[in-house]
């Protein structure tokens, strides 16, 4: 619960930061950040598959790899179709740095401690990403195909958030 509260607090702060940053972000920067967020979750999932023996955690991780790979492939197709190059930006770099720190923390754990930390991070991560995509990115994007892609992707990400919440509850991390 403590971790979840912390995750929620971080989420609120991150979304506020994202809202501020998005005022200055263009479509290509938003595309970069959304793509990066998916790639980072795939990396978390590969770590989970390398460390965890829990069937539920492993199934969740496999779903994250499968679904985020599909969403990012669609994003790649759109980028190719529009003949544009996503732009790295402060928010993407913040995400990458935060994920590196979290992976370093996770990799020092094993067993149930890892499973709980991974599950709670997945819940917090999807909460943050979903709030940012829905409340900041989609309203800010000006190119219609990118807005549509983010809207469709958000459906997937919200399912992930619900799935992560079930995983956290099922693990009974206390």
């Amino acid at each position: 619960m403590k971790t979840l509260t912390l995750a929620a607090a971080i989420a609120v702060g991150f979304v506020a930061q994202s809202a501020s940053a998005a005022d200055k972000m263009n479509d290509l920067e938003i595309a970069h950040t959304a793509y990066t967020a998916g790639q980072l979750d795939i990396r978390y999932a590969h770590l989970a598959l390398a460390v965890s023996d829990n069937a539920e955690v492993r199934a969740f991780a496999e779903t994250m790899i499968r679904d985020h790979t599909a969403v990012n492939a669609a994003a790649g197709d759109l980028i190719t179709k529009l003949n544009v190059t996503p732009q790295d930006n402060d928010l993407s770099r913040t995400l990458v740095k935060g994920a590196a720190d979290k992976r370093a923390e996770l990799i020092s754990l094993s067993g149930k401690a890892f499973d709980c930390a991974y599950a709670q991070n997945e819940l917090g991560y999807h909460q943050v990403v979903n709030k940012t995509v829905e409340g900041v990115f989609i309203p800010a994007v000006t190119v219609e195909p990118l807005k549509d892609l983010l809207s469709d992707a958000l459906v997937t990400f919200k399912v992930h958030e619900g799935h992560a919440e079930q995983m956290v509850n099922g693990l009974q991390c206390g």
Binding site: T63, R66, D67, T156, V159, G162, H163
Partner: protein, 109 residues
């Protein structure tokens, strides 16, 4: 866009995977997979008719019999798979990747 076309004939003898659509000559009944929901979630057909599942989501899905007697296999976005049902009965199914997604096929004589 990648299209997957396959057909499974499901009867008393089990599942037979084919490669053409549809064998019975009747128009297949469509179940759309959209926003992580099978639409319609419950569908009734006559024995010998075919159901086509079409995935409209980015996320890959399956339609997998609860008893795993038949399975569409992985359906990427815009892919489809057909299964013909020859034996009357009620067949609950789910998505193997997202088990909260469920549906039911009711086959009448």
């Amino acid at each position: 866009m990648r299209l997957t076309r396959r057909q499974v004939c499901f009867g008393a003898g089990g599942a037979i995977v084919g490669s053409a659509l549809p064998a019975s000559g009747s128009t297949p009944v469509v179940v759309d997979i959209r926003s992580f929901v099978f639409e319609p979630a419950e569908i009734t057909i006559r024995a010998g008719e075919t159901i086509v599942w079409i995935n409209h989501d980015f996320a890959p899905h399956t339609a997998t019999d609860d008893e795993v007697n038949w399975d569409t296999g992985e359906l990427e976005k815009d892919a489809q798979a057909a299964i013909r049902f020859d034996t009357p009965g009620t067949y609950p199914y789910f998505c193997a990747y997202h088990p909260h997604m469920t549906g039911t096929v009711i086959v009448t004589a």
